[in-house]
Amino acid sequence: MTSILALDPAWWQQTFLIKVPIGLLAVLLPAGTIVYLYLFKAVSFMQSRLGPMEAGPYGSMQLLAEVGKWLQKEDIFPTKADKFVFAAAPFVVLMSTFLLVVILPAGPDATFVNLDVGIYFAMAVSSVSVIGILMAGWASANKYSLLGGIRAAGQLIAYELPLILAVVGVVIQAGTMNMQGIVLSQAEGEIFGWGGIGNPFILTQFIGFFIFMVAVQAELTQAPFDMPVAESELVTGYLTEYSGIRFLLFFIGEFASAGVFSAIAAVLFFGGWYVPGIDPTNDIFNVIGPLILAGKMMAIAFLIFWFRFTFPRFREDQLQRLAWKFLIPLSLANIALTGVLKVVL
């Protein structure tokens, strides 16, 4: 019989009371970090300004102040809004983010659930946010919201396909849909017989990574694909009528999703929690794995915000054309190439 004091990973994995706070932390902490580091600070430096400086050292408490402000605000429902749908929409969007987090492996044993079809599940639940956005757009009883919601639906459906097809290349190469298996196959892989750094799939799947990041940018409705929330024409699209805590939920959803998608990209293309030089079965990864994953995630998330604040936005028809006429054929070619090479090599 194992002692309670001996660390048995299976024990905390099965404990609801520990998993829920860690899950919350896994969503909120990256979201907060991304908002402060990138949305407040990095972007300010790009735009030759300082960003928040007053709240806390270098404005690091600014986000708390913002959250406090949002929590205090009146919870406004437009008169003609469909009240139940209007109220539920932010939760649907946020739920999609939470469902995405659960499949992320942060160490050999540090997982919430270790699904055999992990990446397939992730792609499936990432689509749930479309429903929330459509709900928000429709229920707001506002023409800008409606236009934004419809645009978002069209865009997210169009970019769902390249997103999934970009992942297929990785799945073919790894030979598994299990997220843990994808990490391990990169950690244990070899580049032409040399196993020094494993075989991170970015080396072979760079086209897939490019398509994945473009599609993620569109999924997150960040510029240049921010037509659904285009603030210079649609005010803020489906978010127009939201204020206070419901806006906060959308806000968390947006930035937590940016973090989660970056983490998925880190797992798929950069070896997840693994760093070269340590045996992947080493228990130390249960401790440093989450930090490594977070580091890779932040590096990839920087790309998202870098692009967001550099590019103008596509028009709706142009971004549809980009998805259907360029990204999907490219990702199909990538899959074909990967399949052929997998068989040949």
């Binding site: 240049p224 604040f309 936005r313």
Partner: protein
């Protein structure tokens, strides 16, 4: 006629309802989208009522006048020197340029001419306000098509120009510096060298905008072939300024109908673009900013010495008569038609402002475009609300 208070209220409500029905072209087909008067894209209080079929615009109509301040009427109760304070606020981004045509018209009526030094400094300040105005357009156009960063660079670098204007005139935005017969003050010491350095910075800014905005594929996809104005249409709607030159019409008042400013003394070029689309309007303005820097560098080297004020009476009474003077302002042709009856105040002033005429093309231009293009086309036409509503 209604007498009781409730009758009056009912009368007002009926009038208001009538006005609303006239404005909102609500029909069975399509959806009416009301952009403004408070809307992020109009940087002011412009209202556009668009009838949509999905994302396609079936009809669009601009509704102006939310910011009307009655300047034409107010000039009738101001003495001539006081009017510059008002007209400063018409195109508030290039304020000094507004004063010039009015002062020139008044000078024409009084038959005085500013001394050469005053004319040169006027031209220098005129071109500086052009740079201050158009540099903001270059950033604003980018933000209207979705790139948030360039506008910060525009605000940052425009400040250098505004500082130079402030050092001469004492006002960043509203200089109120032009006088009938000359200028209020001479240039401060060391100003010419400082301005030379600022012009170098603005040249870098233009290069930055060219790389960051103009060269961007997405920007080109959003603007090329969008909002095309053929030359004959541009002329028939009375467009002026860069909007006209972007349609390929080689017309610039500075060169072709210059009054009172010293553009003949320098070597410069009028830029035109054959396409007439949003992209070419941006391109022409970018080149014009560079050309303005070029003009300024030549002007700064050759400012003649001498007085800055002609001999004018202490109390200005303008002889009876009429005069129209137009100048090539940052936004286009700005003209003042001044009627005097020999009083201290003008009898009547008609202001021909560029944005008002440029806006008149929008119902024709916005027909059949997509909703996002409404914004990019309006941004490329470049209006200042104060210039539309006066």
């Amino acid at each position: 006629m209604a007498t009781t208070e409730s009758d009056q209220m009912a009368y007002i409500a009926a009038q208001a309802a009538d006005a609303r029905v006239n404005v909102e072209v609500e029909t069975d087909e399509g959806m009416t989208l009301n952009l403004g008067p408070q809307h992020p894209a109009t940087h002011g209080t412009l209202r556009i009522v668009a009838k949509l079929d999905g994302e396609k615009v079936l009809a669009a109509e601009p509704i102006m006048g939310y910011m009307h301040r009655g300047y034409e009427k107010l000039t009738e109760v101001r003495t001539y020197p006081q009017v510059t304070t008002l007209v400063n606020r018409i195109d508030w981004l290039g304020s000094f340029a507004n004063e010039v045509p009015f002062i020139l018209a008044a000078e024409q009526l009084m038959e005085v001419e500013a001394p050469p030094r005053a004319q040169w400094i006027r031209t220098v300040l005129f071109e500086l306000s052009r740079i201050a105005n158009i540099s903001l357009f270059l950033g604003d156009m980018a933000v209207q098509v979705g790139a948030t960063t360039p506008v910060f660079y525009a605000f940052r670098d425009r400040e250098f120009v505004l500082n130079q204007i402030e050092r001469v005139t004492g006002g960043r935005f509203h200089p109120n510096f032009d006088r009938i017969g000359g200028l209020k003050d001479d240039l401060p010491k060391g100003w010419i060298e400082e301005t030379g350095a600022v012009l170098g910075k603005m040249r870098d800014f233009c290069d930055e905008m060219e790389e960051l905005v103009l060269g961007n594929e997405i920007f080109q996809a959003r603007t090329r072939g969008i909002g095309v104005i053929p030359p004959d249409v541009a002329l028939s709607y009375g467009l002026s300024g860069a909007n006209l030159r972007a349609s390929g019409i080689d017309w610039d008042i500075r060169r072709d109908a210059n009054v009172g400013l010293v553009y003949d003394e320098v070597d410069w070029k009028v830029w035109t673009h054959p396409d007439g689309d949003s992209f070419s309007r941006f391109w022409v303005r970018l080149q014009e900013t560079r050309e303005a820097i070029n003009i300024l560098e030549q002007l700064l080297g050759g400012i003649p010495s001498g007085p800055i004020m002609a001999k004018v009476p202490r109390i200005i009474k303008v002889p009876a008569g009429e005069a129209y003077v137009a100048t090539e302002n940052p936004l286009g042709e700005m003209g003042f038609y001044v009627v005097s009856q020999g009083d201290l105040t003008p009898f009547r002033v008609k202001i021909r402002s560029a944005s008002f005429s440029n806006m008149s093309i929008t119902p024709w231009l916005l027909k059949g475009v997509f909703v996002p293009d409404i914004i990019s086309i309006l941004a490329s036409l470049y209006f200042i609300l104060g210039d539309i509503d006066r």
